[in-house]
Protein backbone atom coordinates (compact mmCIF):
# COMPACT_ATOMS: atom_id res chain seq x y z
CA UNK A 1 0.00 0.00 0.00
CA UNK A 2 1.44 3.36 -1.01
CA UNK A 3 1.30 5.90 1.80
CA UNK A 4 -0.23 9.31 1.13
CA UNK A 5 1.97 12.38 1.77
CA UNK A 6 -0.01 13.04 4.94
CA UNK A 7 0.71 9.51 6.17
CA UNK A 8 4.42 9.93 5.42
CA UNK A 9 4.77 13.46 6.82
CA UNK A 10 2.15 13.54 9.61
CA UNK A 11 4.34 12.17 12.39
CA UNK A 12 7.52 14.03 11.33
CA UNK A 13 5.60 17.34 11.27
CA UNK A 14 4.11 16.73 14.73
CA UNK A 15 7.55 15.81 16.11
CA UNK A 16 9.07 18.86 14.43
CA UNK A 17 6.50 21.16 16.05
CA UNK A 18 7.03 19.48 19.44
CA UNK A 19 10.81 19.92 19.16
CA UNK A 20 10.37 23.58 18.21
CA UNK A 21 8.12 24.18 21.22
CA UNK A 22 10.66 22.37 23.40
CA UNK A 23 13.56 24.48 22.14
CA UNK A 24 11.76 27.81 22.56
CA UNK A 25 9.81 27.31 25.79
CA UNK A 26 12.77 27.17 28.20
CA UNK A 27 14.23 30.29 26.55
CA UNK A 28 11.16 32.30 27.55
CA UNK A 29 10.92 31.41 31.22
CA UNK A 30 11.90 29.15 34.11
CA UNK A 31 9.91 26.65 36.14
CA UNK A 32 6.86 25.56 34.14
CA UNK A 33 8.52 26.74 30.91
CA UNK A 34 11.45 24.38 31.55
CA UNK A 35 9.00 21.54 32.27
CA UNK A 36 7.17 22.15 28.96
CA UNK A 37 10.55 22.00 27.20
CA UNK A 38 11.48 18.74 28.89
CA UNK A 39 8.20 17.07 27.87
CA UNK A 40 8.14 18.48 24.32
CA UNK A 41 11.79 17.48 23.67
CA UNK A 42 11.41 14.23 25.58
CA UNK A 43 8.70 12.82 23.29
CA UNK A 44 10.85 12.70 20.11
CA UNK A 45 13.68 11.25 22.25
CA UNK A 46 11.46 8.51 23.67
CA UNK A 47 9.96 7.70 20.27
CA UNK A 48 13.42 7.37 18.72
CA UNK A 49 14.45 5.04 21.52
CA UNK A 50 11.22 3.03 21.25
CA UNK A 51 11.37 2.58 17.47
CA UNK A 52 15.05 1.72 17.63
CA UNK A 53 14.75 -0.87 20.40
CA UNK A 54 11.39 -2.61 19.83
CA UNK A 55 11.62 -6.26 18.79
CA UNK A 56 8.72 -6.82 16.41
CA UNK A 57 8.14 -3.94 14.03
CA UNK A 58 4.58 -3.40 12.79
CA UNK A 59 5.51 -4.50 9.29
CA UNK A 60 2.69 -3.94 6.85
CA UNK A 61 4.70 -3.39 3.74
CA UNK A 62 3.09 -4.47 0.48
CA UNK A 63 6.19 -6.41 -0.45
Amino acid sequence: MIRTPLQVWGAPIVLGILTTIGLISALLGDGIWDAVSAVALGIPCLLGFWFGMRRTPAQRSAL
Binding site: A38, C45, W50
Partner: protein, 392 residues
Protein backbone atom coordinates in the same frame (compact mmCIF):
# COMPACT_ATOMS: atom_id res chain seq x y z
CA UNK B 1 10.09 12.47 -7.63
CA UNK B 2 11.73 11.60 -10.94
CA UNK B 3 14.63 9.14 -10.92
CA UNK B 4 16.94 11.91 -12.14
CA UNK B 5 16.17 14.32 -9.31
CA UNK B 6 16.28 11.41 -6.87
CA UNK B 7 19.79 10.63 -8.06
CA UNK B 8 20.77 14.31 -7.78
CA UNK B 9 19.52 14.64 -4.22
CA UNK B 10 21.20 11.34 -3.45
CA UNK B 11 24.50 12.72 -4.75
CA UNK B 12 24.10 15.89 -2.64
CA UNK B 13 23.28 13.86 0.46
CA UNK B 14 26.16 11.45 -0.07
CA UNK B 15 28.88 14.05 -0.55
CA UNK B 16 27.73 16.68 1.94
CA UNK B 17 27.50 14.06 4.68
CA UNK B 18 30.63 12.12 3.71
CA UNK B 19 32.79 15.24 3.96
CA UNK B 20 31.41 16.44 7.29
CA UNK B 21 30.75 13.09 9.02
CA UNK B 22 34.17 12.55 10.59
CA UNK B 23 34.18 16.11 11.99
CA UNK B 24 30.58 15.79 13.15
CA UNK B 25 31.50 12.59 15.00
CA UNK B 26 34.33 14.51 16.68
CA UNK B 27 31.97 17.37 17.56
CA UNK B 28 29.38 14.97 19.01
CA UNK B 29 31.96 13.10 21.08
CA UNK B 30 33.64 16.26 22.42
CA UNK B 31 30.29 18.01 22.88
CA UNK B 32 29.02 15.29 25.20
CA UNK B 33 31.34 16.16 28.14
CA UNK B 34 30.87 19.87 27.41
CA UNK B 35 27.13 19.54 28.17
CA UNK B 36 28.14 18.47 31.68
CA UNK B 37 31.16 20.75 32.12
CA UNK B 38 29.89 22.11 35.45
CA UNK B 39 29.29 18.64 36.89
CA UNK B 40 32.64 17.37 35.58
CA UNK B 41 34.32 20.45 37.07
CA UNK B 42 32.84 19.61 40.46
CA UNK B 43 33.99 16.00 40.16
CA UNK B 44 37.51 16.90 39.06
CA UNK B 45 37.70 19.66 41.65
CA UNK B 46 38.41 22.29 39.00
CA UNK B 47 35.24 24.21 39.82
CA UNK B 48 36.03 26.92 42.38
CA UNK B 49 33.78 26.94 45.45
CA UNK B 50 33.40 30.15 47.46
CA UNK B 51 34.91 29.88 50.95
CA UNK B 52 32.46 29.75 53.86
CA UNK B 53 32.78 32.91 55.96
CA UNK B 54 32.16 32.90 59.72
CA UNK B 55 29.82 35.85 59.35
CA UNK B 56 28.09 37.09 56.16
CA UNK B 57 29.88 39.96 54.44
CA UNK B 58 28.67 42.35 51.74
CA UNK B 59 30.42 42.62 48.36
CA UNK B 60 33.81 44.30 48.68
CA UNK B 61 35.49 46.92 46.55
CA UNK B 62 36.10 45.71 42.98
CA UNK B 63 39.29 47.74 42.64
CA UNK B 64 40.67 45.86 45.65
CA UNK B 65 39.64 42.58 44.00
CA UNK B 66 41.63 43.48 40.88
CA UNK B 67 44.61 44.66 42.95
CA UNK B 68 44.71 41.34 44.84
CA UNK B 69 44.79 39.41 41.56
CA UNK B 70 47.48 41.68 40.08
CA UNK B 71 49.77 41.05 43.06
CA UNK B 72 50.27 37.53 41.67
CA UNK B 73 51.28 38.76 38.19
CA UNK B 74 52.30 42.43 38.42
CA UNK B 75 53.45 42.51 34.76
CA UNK B 76 50.07 41.42 33.37
CA UNK B 77 47.00 43.60 32.85
CA UNK B 78 43.38 42.85 33.65
CA UNK B 79 41.41 41.84 30.53
CA UNK B 80 38.10 40.72 32.00
CA UNK B 81 36.42 40.29 35.33
CA UNK B 82 33.22 38.28 35.49
CA UNK B 83 30.71 37.08 38.03
CA UNK B 84 28.28 34.20 37.55
CA UNK B 85 24.66 34.91 38.49
CA UNK B 86 24.46 31.99 40.92
CA UNK B 87 27.94 32.53 42.44
CA UNK B 88 28.08 36.25 43.37
CA UNK B 89 30.73 35.46 45.99
CA UNK B 90 33.43 35.10 43.34
CA UNK B 91 34.99 37.48 40.83
CA UNK B 92 36.83 35.65 38.05
CA UNK B 93 39.71 37.91 37.06
CA UNK B 94 41.60 37.31 33.80
CA UNK B 95 45.11 38.78 33.59
CA UNK B 96 47.10 38.81 30.35
CA UNK B 97 49.75 40.70 28.38
CA UNK B 98 47.23 41.41 25.63
CA UNK B 99 43.85 40.24 24.32
CA UNK B 100 45.23 37.14 22.54
CA UNK B 101 47.91 36.21 25.10
CA UNK B 102 47.93 32.39 25.19
CA UNK B 103 49.44 32.53 28.70
CA UNK B 104 46.59 34.43 30.25
CA UNK B 105 45.98 33.85 33.96
CA UNK B 106 42.56 33.12 35.41
CA UNK B 107 42.34 34.04 39.09
CA UNK B 108 39.36 33.52 41.40
CA UNK B 109 38.99 36.28 44.00
CA UNK B 110 36.55 36.37 46.89
CA UNK B 111 34.15 39.23 46.08
CA UNK B 112 33.52 39.89 49.80
CA UNK B 113 36.98 39.76 51.39
CA UNK B 114 38.72 40.77 48.11
CA UNK B 115 41.35 38.07 48.85
CA UNK B 116 42.56 35.62 46.17
CA UNK B 117 40.88 32.20 46.55
CA UNK B 118 42.87 30.23 44.00
CA UNK B 119 44.25 30.09 40.49
CA UNK B 120 41.73 27.74 38.87
CA UNK B 121 42.89 24.96 36.56
CA UNK B 122 43.52 26.45 33.13
CA UNK B 123 40.22 26.26 31.20
CA UNK B 124 38.93 23.57 33.55
CA UNK B 125 41.98 21.29 33.36
CA UNK B 126 43.69 19.35 30.57
CA UNK B 127 40.74 17.08 29.72
CA UNK B 128 38.07 19.77 29.47
CA UNK B 129 40.32 22.30 27.72
CA UNK B 130 41.24 19.64 25.12
CA UNK B 131 37.56 18.79 24.60
CA UNK B 132 36.76 22.48 24.22
CA UNK B 133 39.59 23.16 21.77
CA UNK B 134 38.67 20.13 19.62
CA UNK B 135 35.05 21.25 19.67
CA UNK B 136 35.62 24.93 18.92
CA UNK B 137 38.66 25.37 16.68
CA UNK B 138 40.77 22.17 16.46
CA UNK B 139 43.63 24.10 18.18
CA UNK B 140 43.82 26.35 15.11
CA UNK B 141 42.17 29.59 16.18
CA UNK B 142 39.91 31.50 13.83
CA UNK B 143 40.72 29.42 10.70
CA UNK B 144 39.86 26.22 12.60
CA UNK B 145 36.66 27.82 13.86
CA UNK B 146 35.56 28.89 10.39
CA UNK B 147 36.47 25.45 9.02
CA UNK B 148 34.19 23.78 11.56
CA UNK B 149 31.52 26.36 10.66
CA UNK B 150 31.78 25.22 7.05
CA UNK B 151 31.45 21.58 8.17
CA UNK B 152 28.28 22.65 10.03
CA UNK B 153 26.99 24.18 6.80
CA UNK B 154 27.58 20.84 5.05
CA UNK B 155 25.66 19.15 7.87
CA UNK B 156 22.70 21.47 7.19
CA UNK B 157 22.88 20.57 3.48
CA UNK B 158 22.99 16.87 4.44
CA UNK B 159 19.94 17.32 6.69
CA UNK B 160 17.89 19.11 4.00
CA UNK B 161 18.80 16.58 1.30
CA UNK B 162 18.11 13.77 3.77
CA UNK B 163 14.60 15.12 4.37
CA UNK B 164 13.99 15.32 0.61
CA UNK B 165 15.02 11.66 0.27
CA UNK B 166 12.95 10.59 3.28
CA UNK B 167 9.56 10.54 1.50
CA UNK B 168 10.45 8.22 -1.39
CA UNK B 169 12.01 5.77 1.08
CA UNK B 170 8.95 5.79 3.32
CA UNK B 171 6.29 5.40 0.65
CA UNK B 172 5.61 1.78 1.65
CA UNK B 173 6.50 1.91 5.33
CA UNK B 174 4.75 3.02 8.51
CA UNK B 175 6.42 5.80 10.45
CA UNK B 176 9.22 4.49 12.64
CA UNK B 177 9.48 1.07 10.96
CA UNK B 178 12.86 -0.60 11.46
CA UNK B 179 12.99 -3.88 9.51
CA UNK B 180 15.25 -5.99 11.67
CA UNK B 181 14.55 -9.47 10.32
CA UNK B 182 15.89 -9.12 6.77
CA UNK B 183 19.44 -7.86 6.38
CA UNK B 184 21.78 -5.81 8.52
CA UNK B 185 21.97 -3.27 5.76
CA UNK B 186 18.18 -2.81 5.65
CA UNK B 187 18.01 -2.58 9.42
CA UNK B 188 20.60 0.20 9.57
CA UNK B 189 19.04 2.00 6.61
CA UNK B 190 15.68 2.09 8.45
CA UNK B 191 17.44 3.08 11.68
CA UNK B 192 19.23 5.91 9.82
CA UNK B 193 15.96 7.19 8.32
CA UNK B 194 14.09 6.90 11.62
CA UNK B 195 16.74 8.63 13.75
CA UNK B 196 17.26 11.27 11.07
CA UNK B 197 13.59 12.26 10.97
CA UNK B 198 13.15 12.10 14.76
CA UNK B 199 16.18 14.31 15.52
CA UNK B 200 15.62 16.52 12.45
CA UNK B 201 14.63 19.86 14.01
CA UNK B 202 16.97 19.51 17.01
CA UNK B 203 20.00 18.66 14.87
CA UNK B 204 19.20 21.44 12.40
CA UNK B 205 18.98 23.99 15.23
CA UNK B 206 22.10 22.76 17.04
CA UNK B 207 24.03 22.58 13.77
CA UNK B 208 22.79 25.97 12.60
CA UNK B 209 23.49 27.73 15.90
CA UNK B 210 26.89 26.02 16.05
CA UNK B 211 27.67 27.52 12.66
CA UNK B 212 26.55 30.99 13.82
CA UNK B 213 28.76 30.64 16.90
CA UNK B 214 31.82 30.11 14.69
CA UNK B 215 31.26 33.61 13.34
CA UNK B 216 31.30 35.22 16.82
CA UNK B 217 34.79 36.72 16.53
CA UNK B 218 33.99 38.18 13.12
CA UNK B 219 30.74 39.66 14.43
CA UNK B 220 32.47 41.40 17.36
CA UNK B 221 35.12 42.79 15.01
CA UNK B 222 32.41 44.03 12.64
CA UNK B 223 30.55 45.63 15.55
CA UNK B 224 33.70 47.42 16.73
CA UNK B 225 34.42 48.76 13.25
CA UNK B 226 30.85 49.90 12.54
CA UNK B 227 28.17 50.55 15.18
CA UNK B 228 30.67 50.92 18.04
CA UNK B 229 32.93 53.19 15.97
CA UNK B 230 29.90 55.44 15.35
CA UNK B 231 29.13 55.60 19.08
CA UNK B 232 32.78 56.44 19.86
CA UNK B 233 33.24 59.05 17.13
CA UNK B 234 34.28 61.72 19.66
CA UNK B 235 37.30 59.55 20.58
CA UNK B 236 38.46 59.08 16.99
CA UNK B 237 42.20 59.64 16.56
CA UNK B 238 42.72 60.41 20.25
CA UNK B 239 45.47 58.68 22.18
CA UNK B 240 44.12 56.65 25.08
CA UNK B 241 44.65 58.42 28.41
CA UNK B 242 45.77 56.40 31.46
CA UNK B 243 43.04 54.08 32.72
CA UNK B 244 42.83 55.68 36.11
CA UNK B 245 39.07 55.63 36.67
CA UNK B 246 37.85 53.29 39.39
CA UNK B 247 36.29 50.07 38.05
CA UNK B 248 34.18 49.85 41.20
CA UNK B 249 32.67 53.27 40.53
CA UNK B 250 32.27 52.44 36.83
CA UNK B 251 30.15 49.42 37.82
CA UNK B 252 28.05 51.61 40.12
CA UNK B 253 27.53 54.12 37.29
CA UNK B 254 26.49 51.29 34.95
CA UNK B 255 24.03 49.91 37.52
CA UNK B 256 22.48 53.37 37.89
CA UNK B 257 22.18 53.67 34.10
CA UNK B 258 20.39 50.32 33.73
CA UNK B 259 18.46 49.75 36.96
CA UNK B 260 17.30 46.19 37.61
CA UNK B 261 20.19 44.62 35.71
CA UNK B 262 23.27 42.94 37.16
CA UNK B 263 26.91 42.98 36.03
CA UNK B 264 27.89 39.83 34.15
CA UNK B 265 31.37 40.89 33.13
CA UNK B 266 33.62 43.88 32.65
CA UNK B 267 35.83 44.09 29.55
CA UNK B 268 38.92 46.25 29.97
CA UNK B 269 40.38 48.63 27.38
CA UNK B 270 42.11 46.82 24.53
CA UNK B 271 39.80 43.79 24.42
CA UNK B 272 37.36 42.99 21.61
CA UNK B 273 34.47 43.86 23.92
CA UNK B 274 35.45 47.43 24.75
CA UNK B 275 37.48 50.23 23.17
CA UNK B 276 40.96 51.64 23.84
CA UNK B 277 39.25 54.29 25.97
CA UNK B 278 36.54 52.39 27.81
CA UNK B 279 35.54 49.87 30.35
CA UNK B 280 32.77 47.80 28.78
CA UNK B 281 30.41 46.90 31.61
CA UNK B 282 28.17 44.08 30.35
CA UNK B 283 24.86 43.93 32.16
CA UNK B 284 22.17 41.27 31.95
CA UNK B 285 18.78 40.60 33.51
CA UNK B 286 17.96 37.80 35.90
CA UNK B 287 15.12 36.10 34.01
CA UNK B 288 15.42 33.24 31.54
CA UNK B 289 15.49 35.37 28.40
CA UNK B 290 16.88 38.64 29.81
CA UNK B 291 19.84 36.80 31.34
CA UNK B 292 20.98 36.05 27.77
CA UNK B 293 20.47 39.57 26.44
CA UNK B 294 23.63 41.40 27.48
CA UNK B 295 23.72 45.14 27.28
CA UNK B 296 27.05 46.99 27.33
CA UNK B 297 27.56 50.21 29.27
CA UNK B 298 30.61 52.12 28.07
CA UNK B 299 32.41 54.03 30.81
CA UNK B 300 35.36 56.30 29.97
CA UNK B 301 38.33 54.55 31.61
CA UNK B 302 40.04 57.88 32.29
CA UNK B 303 37.23 60.10 33.55
CA UNK B 304 34.78 57.46 34.79
CA UNK B 305 31.98 59.22 32.89
CA UNK B 306 29.27 57.27 31.11
CA UNK B 307 29.66 57.47 27.32
CA UNK B 308 26.72 55.34 26.18
CA UNK B 309 24.64 52.24 26.91
CA UNK B 310 23.98 51.05 23.36
CA UNK B 311 21.45 48.36 22.45
CA UNK B 312 23.29 45.58 20.61
CA UNK B 313 22.62 45.25 16.86
CA UNK B 314 20.42 42.41 15.54
CA UNK B 315 23.31 40.14 14.55
CA UNK B 316 24.85 40.19 18.04
CA UNK B 317 21.40 39.55 19.54
CA UNK B 318 21.04 36.60 17.14
CA UNK B 319 24.44 35.34 18.32
CA UNK B 320 23.40 35.66 21.98
CA UNK B 321 20.18 33.68 21.33
CA UNK B 322 22.03 31.07 19.29
CA UNK B 323 24.42 30.30 22.16
CA UNK B 324 21.94 28.67 24.58
CA UNK B 325 20.24 26.90 21.65
CA UNK B 326 23.60 25.31 20.87
CA UNK B 327 24.73 24.58 24.44
CA UNK B 328 21.38 23.29 25.79
CA UNK B 329 22.16 24.96 29.13
CA UNK B 330 18.90 26.86 29.57
CA UNK B 331 16.43 24.23 30.77
CA UNK B 332 17.99 22.62 33.82
CA UNK B 333 19.11 19.01 34.28
CA UNK B 334 16.24 17.53 32.22
CA UNK B 335 17.30 19.49 29.17
CA UNK B 336 20.97 18.57 29.62
CA UNK B 337 20.00 14.89 29.70
CA UNK B 338 17.88 15.25 26.54
CA UNK B 339 20.75 17.12 24.87
CA UNK B 340 23.06 14.22 25.73
CA UNK B 341 20.55 11.62 24.45
CA UNK B 342 19.98 13.52 21.21
CA UNK B 343 23.77 13.85 20.87
CA UNK B 344 24.08 10.05 21.18
CA UNK B 345 21.23 9.60 18.65
CA UNK B 346 23.22 11.82 16.29
CA UNK B 347 26.32 9.66 16.76
CA UNK B 348 24.24 6.61 15.76
CA UNK B 349 22.78 8.58 12.82
CA UNK B 350 26.31 9.45 11.61
CA UNK B 351 27.57 5.93 12.24
CA UNK B 352 24.74 4.27 10.32
CA UNK B 353 25.19 6.73 7.46
CA UNK B 354 28.88 5.85 7.29
CA UNK B 355 28.06 2.12 7.50
CA UNK B 356 25.58 2.38 4.61
CA UNK B 357 28.25 4.04 2.48
CA UNK B 358 30.97 1.53 3.42
CA UNK B 359 28.66 -1.42 2.66
CA UNK B 360 27.49 0.01 -0.64
CA UNK B 361 26.95 -2.50 -3.41
CA UNK B 362 27.41 -5.49 -1.10
CA UNK B 363 24.51 -7.61 0.19
CA UNK B 364 22.18 -5.22 -1.55
CA UNK B 365 19.64 -7.95 -2.35
CA UNK B 366 16.73 -6.63 -0.37
CA UNK B 367 17.11 -3.06 -1.49
CA UNK B 368 17.71 -4.02 -5.10
CA UNK B 369 14.49 -5.98 -4.97
CA UNK B 370 12.68 -2.94 -3.62
CA UNK B 371 13.97 -0.82 -6.46
CA UNK B 372 13.20 -3.39 -9.13
CA UNK B 373 9.74 -3.97 -7.77
CA UNK B 374 8.88 -0.34 -7.78
CA UNK B 375 10.28 0.52 -11.15
CA UNK B 376 7.05 0.44 -13.18
CA UNK B 377 5.45 2.74 -10.62
CA UNK B 378 5.51 6.49 -11.39
CA UNK B 379 7.09 7.13 -7.97
CA UNK B 380 9.81 4.54 -7.65
CA UNK B 381 10.98 3.41 -4.24
CA UNK B 382 14.70 4.18 -4.23
CA UNK B 383 17.39 1.76 -3.24
CA UNK B 384 20.30 2.96 -1.17
CA UNK B 385 22.37 2.65 -4.35
CA UNK B 386 20.81 5.94 -5.31
CA UNK B 387 22.83 7.43 -2.46
CA UNK B 388 26.05 5.51 -2.91
CA UNK B 389 26.24 6.06 -6.62
CA UNK B 390 26.40 2.40 -7.72
CA UNK B 391 23.73 1.16 -10.03
CA UNK B 392 22.05 -2.01 -8.84
Amino acid sequence: MSPVSLRRWGWIHKWSSLICTIFMLLLCLTGLPLIYHHEIGHLLGTEVEPPVLSSPMPQGNVDAVIASAKELYPAKKPMFISQEADVPEIWNVTLADHMHDPNYKPIAVDARTTKVITEPAFEGGVFMSTMLALHVDLFMGLPGMLFLGFMALLLLVAIVSGVVLYAPFMRKLDFGTVRKERSARLKWLDMHNMLGIVTLVWLFVVGGTGMINTWADLMYKYYQKNELAQILKQYEGKKPLPHTASVHDAIETAKAALPGMRVAFVAFPGTDFSSEHHYGIYMNGNEAFSSRMYRPVLIDANTGQLTDAPVLPWYLKALLVSQPLHFGDYGGQAMKLLWALLDIATIILLGTGLYLWLKRGKTGNATTKVAAHAHPHPHPIPSTHTLTGKRP
